[in-house]
């Protein structure tokens, strides 16, 4: 079932290719909900652990949880603000992070922007595609441009992050 889930995710990732016009953040999230809806066909659900909708931090990172592992990336707002990413400085696999720890930096023509861990946990994977292709962060920030995966030591931290509507409201308030 996990394999089917990954296959489904890959199909969706293809939809986020740069050939297509950039999906609005609402469209991105409804894509996620497609994967995670309870009542979805059995091939898309796992027996252990829920898949949750995207959560966001005030630093414009998103977290998507699957089977107790959080995938982390930056939001569309963040990648636009950054400009073209030329280098992704990511933490090491196995590195233990506290919430809000500095854990790397994304370098763009604009600046080196610090990355802050959205949660407390241990890094289980980093996106090695970004070494050769840092522009994935701009082109596909919700899918192929993911940054790290990590364990979730304190689920209550996840609960305190913003959901999509709250994040959209937050962005509006920044732009005023």
């Amino acid at each position: 079932m996990k394999m089917a889930m990954r296959a489904a995710l890959r199909c969706l990732s293809v939809n986020f290719s740069p050939r297509l016009p950039q999906l609005s953040s609402a469209a991105q999230v409804s894509a996620t909900r497609l994967l995670c809806r309870s009542g979805a066909p059995r091939t898309l659900s796992t027996t252990s652990g829920q898949c949750t909708a995207l959560k966001f931090t005030e630093k414009h990172e998103w977290v998507l949880v699957e089977s107790g592992i959080g995938t982390v990336g930056i939001s569309n707002y963040a990648q636009e603000a950054l400009g073209d990413v030329v280098y992704c400085g990511l933490p090491e696999v196995g590195q233990k992070l506290e919430q809000l720890d500095e854990c790397g930096a994304l370098e763009s023509v604009k600046a080196a922007s610090e990355l802050y861990s959205p949660l407390t946990g241990e890094v289980t994977a980093i996106n090695t595609e970004l070494a050769e292709n840092p522009g994935l962060v701009n082109k596909s920030c919700y899918a192929d441009g993911w940054l790290i995966k990590m364990t979730i030591e304190r689920p209550e931290e996840l609960d305190r992050l913003m959901d999509q509507p709250a994040y959209d409201k937050f962005i509006k308030s920044l732009e005023e």
Partner: protein
Amino acid sequence: MLSHLRGTFCVLSAGVQRAWSSSSCLFMDPSSPGLVLQSQSTDVFQNLALEDWIDAHVDLQQRSILLLWRNRPTVVIGRHQNPWAECNLPAMRSAQVPVARRRSGGGTVYHDLGNLNLTFFASKKAYDRRRNLKVVTDALRRVRPQLDIQATDRLDILLNGRYKISGTASRLSRKSSYHHCTLLHSADRSAIAVLLRPSCPGIRSNATPSIPSPVTNLTDHAPSLQWEELLEAVVQQYSSEFGLTSSSQCVDPADEALFPGVGSMEAELRGWQWTFGKTPKFSVETQLELRDERPAARCSAQLQLEVKNGRVESCRVEVPATWLPERLSASLAQALLGERFCPHRAAAALSALLRCESGPLHSRLRNLCDVLVAAMG
């Protein structure tokens, strides 16, 4: 922890019974939206630490700060660069020129006392590099109107449309930002040519590269421009652009009382782990030229190394078996695993092997060790 420290700093400045100089109220004067500081230190690590300290501890939401500083001869590489690719570490060791990795992005620069560094601190909202550079270009145009000074799209400052006199880099953190730039007043350009070249051949890396540019000094074109005159022009221009009520203050970046915690920031910046250990993974592929004296003979060998976090992660030394038995070259390669990519560490690791091998192959083995060590920059 950082926000707690920020609060603590405010309390300290208000309440502690000490002989504070006027600079102690540096960051607290609400009537001063802009503030100019001049560092008393010419130590790059102390100055970089001061930048980090200000970024972490000073509330920049309502104000901006300009820090002026210069360093004794140093090479400064960008956040994600490879020091072995960017600068000639053996030559720098001989000349006692240190390398420092800064926290901002961008490329490699040479600093000496003839180069002025300007750091513009602001909130993330107020981050505006063009506005900052306008302070510099307007100041220069005012004191030497005959000079052709322009900021480019890349945020370099060019003289006569050709020669770079300033480069820019910056860092964005939680709520604040800093943008710093160099300004070549009277730096030693010959040092740049010697020191800003690779340490060793055959490096392949996806670290951020530098873009070499022809450079010139302001004093090459305006010989009468004094250092103090330049500083004063910049401070005046900053005042009129950002609003300033007090004159600039001198600060000692090593003053732990004024900047609590700055010492450990300096130690981190000075350390091997940050400077070299943070280098993005890279490989070295190069040909080694081996020789023997008695009888005179030569041979080529191949070296292939992967370096991760500044240490040798994998190593292959391919020497023709007619020159040295494979077991010897293999054990040399093995001895380097896990060692820092560094000629001293390599020499130490290999010397143990050398001691074990006497006999007719010793001179060839010794030669291979020497050549390997030289390939490590």
